[in-house]
Amino acid sequence: MTDVSSTLSEASPPRAKRRRAVLPIIEIAMLAVFLLLPLVLQDYLTVFMTRVLILCLFALSFDLVWGYAGIMSFGQAVFFGGAGYGVALLGRDLGISSMLLVVPAGVLIGFALALLIGGFLLLGRNPSSVIFVSLGTLTASYAFDRLARGWYYLGGQNGIPSIPQMTIGSYDLGEGPVFYYLALVILVAVYAVCRYLVRSQFGLALAGLRENEQRIAFFGYKVQHLKAIIFSLGGAIAGLAGSLYAFHEGFVWPNMLGVVMSTQVVLYVLFGGSGTLIGAVIGTVVIEIVSFWLSNSYQDIWPIILGALMLLVILFRPAGLISLIVSHSERIGSFGRPPKGSDHGSA
């Protein structure tokens, strides 16, 4: 992999002749397709695609943490499901279903949970090993799953059914094209923020973390703080996705928190291509659509195919589907200029 210093020097002088950038074309094409889909799809497929968009949001959160900062979070579903349960309780017990309240609440829950878990796992005097962080997050996911299953207040095995519909003002937001476009707007907004973030100097520091953590530490960055920040941010996005998901499906259940969901998101990102934001979106869309398509006739063998696909990608295409069309240097990309009057960017 290219190390950070060479990427940095590449970034500053614009080369005379650049290769045609493919990423923006893919992004615009995807956006166009997403915009037009509800016009051509039947209603039940629009509902399905809404779910996919929300899962794309969830995949983005994991991609930010793993693909950019190199923190292996095997427990991303804790923030997704935690926020889902949180807003479900708001809806069930307090009757709060206004979008302006529940979505920020979901973001906050995801952020707080991630800060708590990430703070414990990542911060401290001794830097944590990659294995410890991944097993720690995995354990958290398992623990939350167990608690949700065993706790009567949270509905045990069955979860919380029949959450009221999300409302904006006096408008009831049920499944359908409106919810679809709402999810799309949120996805595009979050995507844009993430894109700005990973192309900024902060993003450069993150890429450095991923490639060579020690070197970034020697540069004087507070490596653990950087990690905790991006981990919490990822948690917040997962929380956003979780709160939308809970209201879209109308119920939450323990699997949303558990190991299955956590590994599912790893799969999305790995398959599409970690380290590119659009890769996470593509991976989610492809896997969900194939799974939807196969689930009627080949429900039993689908998990086997999924496992085999994952193995093949890891062995032969570690950079994911996206690496088939986007070159390595473009995937690494360039980063914003350092602010004037400082030597080492933002920290």
């Binding site: 292996m72 095997f74 414990f120 796992l121 401290g124 001794n126 944590s128 090993s129 990659v130 294995i131 410890f132 991944s134 097993l135 720690g136 995995l138 354990t139 398992y142 623990a143 167990r146 608690l147 299953r149 065993g150 706790w151 190991v259 590994t263 790893v266 790995l270 039993d300 063998i301 998990p303 086997i304 999924l306 496992g307 085999a308 994952m310 193995l311 890891i314 062995l315 570690p318």
Partner: protein
């Protein structure tokens, strides 16, 4: 008094089951530095082979004897074809072995059709000590675990193969320079770890019955145990497994099972956070 004795026996037998499962995981983690997510599925395969022998009309114990060898051979094939590519990268190894595990688990799920299938104990009945009835089969599990541990210890500490294993563990580069094929040692170790898991699966299937998620249940427990005990030694994972197994079995007698289950993991993670090298630091036996 009798209750206490029965509880202790219960705890001991569950602890030895965890030790048996974790031993293979720990050996692989120590040698190759990878956490094998497919280990739970090796347990499942061991259980499945026992079940196959039972349905074929053979006595159950034949399946139990065959399981470690078959699963070990299967592990060797997997190591040669796939797992060896992962040794340099622990995270990729986790994902890759997870994918392998997923494939194995879902195939077995397809074969047994999502059911819980009970397999009879080869040695049934119970032994009565005073007023307490102890299940004979659980006693057998405890004895076999003890034998396997003694056997593994002797293999590692007394044989020339064990010497080569320890050499490759402590200093792979020097071991290679001394003419030891670390490559072959890694293959053998992986197969050995898989065989232990297969044996564990075969022994516990009469207790837990056969279902597709049988291995998954022990996987996280196993990882935690290895981390608590300390990667890199023989004694570490065994000690970790003993502690985690005992706690997991003992706490539900005192507090609610769900809370107990989670509490064990939380305590373990906190312990690892503040003592990353685990109970037993250093390499060797």
């Amino acid at each position: 008094m009798e209750n206490l004795f029965a509880a202790l026996f219960e705890i001991l037998s569950f602890g030895s089951i965890v030790v048996l499962v974790v031993l293979g995981l720990g050996i692989i983690a120590s040698m190759m530095g990878i956490f094998n997510f497919a280990q739970g599925e090796f347990v499942l395969l061991g259980a499945y082979i026992t079940y196959l022998a039972h349905t074929a009309g053979l006595p159950v114990w034949t399946g139990m004897v065959a399981a470690p060898f078959l699963v070990g051979a299967f592990g060797l094939v997997l190591e040669r074809l796939i797992v060896r590519r992962f040794y340099a990268a622990p995270i990729v190894a986790m994902l890759g072995t997870y994918a392998l595990g997923l494939i194995i688990r879902e195939i077995v799920r397809g074969l047994i059709g999502g059911l819980y299938i009970s397999v009879p104990e080869p040695i049934g009945g119970s032994i009565t000590v005073g007023d307490v009835h102890l299940s004979t089969w659980r006693l057998v599990i405890i004895v076999v675990t003890a034998l396997v541990m003694i056997g593994s210890y002797l293999l590692l500490s007394r044989t020339s193969f064990g010497l080569r294993v320890r050499a490759s563990l402590e200093n792979p580069a020097l071991a290679r320079a001394s003419g030891i094929s670390t490559n072959a040692i890694y293959g053998a170790t992986f197969a050995f770890g898989a065989a232990l898991a297969g044996l564990a699966g075969a022994l516990i299937v009469p207790v837990f019955s056969l279902f597709a998620d049988l291995g998954l249940r022990f996987l996280i427990q196993g990882f935690i145990a290895v981390m608590v005990g300390g990667v890199g030694s023989f004694a570490g994972p065994v000690a970790g497994a003993g502690i985690i197994g005992t706690l997991s079995a003992a706490l539900p007698w005192v507090i609610q099972p769900v809370i107990a289950d989670v509490l064990v993991f939380v305590l373990a993670i906190i312990f690892i956070k503040f003592r990353p090298q685990g109970l037993v630091s250093g390499k060797g036996i």
